[in-house]
Amino acid sequence: MISRRDFFGVLGGGIVVVLIADDCDAQESGGGARRGTREATPETIGAWLHIGENGLVSVFTGKVEVGQNARTSLTQAVAEELHAPLAGIKMVMGDTALTPFDMGTVGSMTTPRMWPQMRKAAAAAREMLIDLATQKWSVDRASVSIADGKVTSASHTATFGELTHGEKLTRTIPGTLALTPATEWKVAGTSAPKVDGRDIVTGAHQYAYDMKRPGMLWAKVLYPPQFGATLLSLDAKAAEAMPGVKVVCDGNFVGVAAPDQAAAAAAVMALKAQWKPLTAETSAKDVAAYFRKNARDGAAPAAPLTTYNIAYIAHVPLEPRAAVAEWEDGKLTVWTGSQRPFGVRSELASSFEIPEDRVRVIVPDTGSGYGGKHQGDAAYEAARIAKAVGKPVKRNWTREEELTWAYFRPGGVIDVGGKLNPDGTIAEWEMHNYNSGPSGLQTPYHVPSKKEQYHQTKSPLRQGSYRGLAATANHFVRESYMDELAHSVNLDPLEFRLRNARDERLRAVIEAAAARFGWKERKKTAGRGFGIAGGFEKGSYVATCAEVSVDNATRAVKVLRAVVSFECGGIVNPEHLRNQVEGAVAMGIGGALFEHIDFADNKILTNRLSKYRLPRFADMPVIESVLLDRKDITPAGAGETPIVGIAPAVGNAIFDATGQRLRALPLAP
């Protein structure tokens, strides 16, 4: 990280605003560290902003862009308060040498935390520019204004660069500066197009997978045939005899470096390794019992509760893990796709036993993550092999490696039960989640007596964060069971939910989705069904209605239509929000209907895309989104929560179509 004294040396003259974050909180992470990791103490700096002598505005944040369009929304935040055009603002993201410390692009925190910090930094810069103009022109400060990147006062006018030229001014501001109210936003709240869209549609953008360094070698790692196996012996003679190939072996770690990708793959093939297998404790078939048996606090009695099962699933970011590592004078630089550049820096510093300031992690805008890119596996492998061979090394994971050695969304077992009052309100509620996680476990409905418990247990697979964390599993179970309760007293599922929802924001999304869907006017026909689900997580509210068809002979389910209403406070970019909401529904159909990790004998059996079914064009329903814009409420993140409603809505629709209640994800009638 740039020392604050070095700003002008690194960035050039001009003005700099340093924003002190008003609070730093722990955020959820994932991936069950393979190696000992420890986060650096969070710095108190939230962001900094530089206006160069050429007038270019550069803004530095440790957040990264993984497809959620943070680069665009943060640029809008700066444009809004600085009164400058989007094109003149450059976001420098996820580079541990240039940007302030950040816990990671996780937990839907970019919008609620970083977005206001960007605005504060920009507002302070705007005031500095007005101060400069006031001095230079000797005018009344109140007469100076900024619009469209120009500073004016009566007959005076200047660009930012004309004012910052020759200056070296810094200002440190607290995070408590007042901001433009949402009702007066001009750039924020509009559908600004993706700022780097052109680079993507022309193929110019370089993902980590695409990066090269001069003189670099290609690396590949020999993984054990099963999880937990230990290396007994290695014969590397044949591989080492190949031209340009080097083999790195240390304990269980075996890697090769070669002049090109094919040679690296061939070298790994030529390695003769003997492994001692570890006896598998469970498999996908019997993992539910395994979760219960290994519950740390002892399993609660399942009866008389109703049991649901949740499969492990994979993130499948289309860009697999990738890294390029380069050592120079004992300093390590790594380019990698990650949601936690500073977390990866810590992992690397700790693995190689060097201070964090000797490690630089640079994250190019990344080919998605969905919570799946929190750890620095590829970075570590590249760095380790690069260190051994003394040259830059590139390590690109294959899809098979990604589907086997990354971490998964946890599987789980969830028990649920409830009792109703005669008027259809819920009297008692109980829910126990084994392994999948606590997020979204608390019911958003009004229940006078409830018990909700997350039980930690053992996972046979490496597991970690996933879009929405366990909120998808918990919403699937809760909203399915809400349906079971509604049907047990012959209440319409919409009416039942509204009878039990007191939270006005929850009621609003449920009513909005139902109205757009035409819930009350729906007409049942053979083989068709309708379902509804609602929920709350990470500061935002969602309700989803689905219509499905179930083929009588094949039992194939097709989601025909999905209406999702979403409310996350004030909307910062309507089109990008719509894109996130619709994309979450599309992705969620996979986990709802067919995605699952099959494993046995400590092996992942669903280790290729031909064995792991993802949602495709033909799986798409008509998706309609209804966005509720609450400008009176501070914006929350939106990348995760819209995913939680589709699985229960589809499950409830399948019940409506077939009378069959499916109590497992994926739903397979």
């Binding site: 369009n69 993706k194 549609v201 970011p317 080919g367 990008h576 894109n579 033909a618």
Partner: protein, 157 residues
């Protein structure tokens, strides 16, 4: 082992020296620095590697470079002409038909090929024609809209 020493890529003759058995994807990315075509699965399941070979969408991860010698190869880098975006590229931007963008080059090449075969496709024809492409971010409906918009603007150019 036979070698390939020249390919016709994006209207230019490009020199290289590659084993004919290597994949076109690997030669484009590693030898010619054309990294717009992406690796996603290596088994033809995601189509992120799609390029045009003699105008046809082709999965370059399953194509041996020896089989395309002398054929006209167009990658995403060769689609815009003199800085002017192809109508399909423009349509993807206008429809916001991308999130992380990793599938986008392959999607665009697939769409360009589809529109050459079927200049005025129905939604069903687009879904059928594009179903081999995966967008994990789930922007499928927007991609269908983008292809429709490009078709209306004469997306064949």
């Amino acid at each position: 082992m036979s070698r390939i020493t020249e390919l016709d890529v994006n209207g230019a003759r490009r020199r290289m020296d590659a084993d004919a058995d290597r994949t076109l994807l690997s030669v484009l990315r590693d030898d010619l620095d054309l990294t717009g075509a992406k690796y996603g699965c290596g088994e033809g399941q995601c189509a992120a590697c799609t390029v045009l070979v003699d105008g046809q969408a082709t999965k370059s991860c399953l194509t041996k470079v020896g089989s395309v010698a002398g054929k006209r190869i167009v990658t995403i880098e060769g689609l815009a002409q003199n800085g002017k975006l192809h109508p399909v590229q423009e349509a993807f931007l206008e429809a916001d038909a991308l999130q992380c963008g990793y599938c986008t080059p392959g999607m665009i090449m697939g769409a360009v090929s589809l529109l050459r075969r079927t200049p005025n496709p129905t939604d069903v024809e687009i879904v059928r024609g594009m179903n081999g492409h995966i967008c994990r971010c789930g922007t499928y409906p927007r991609i269908v809209s983008a292809i429709q918009a490009a078709a209306k603007k004469g997306g064949r150019s």
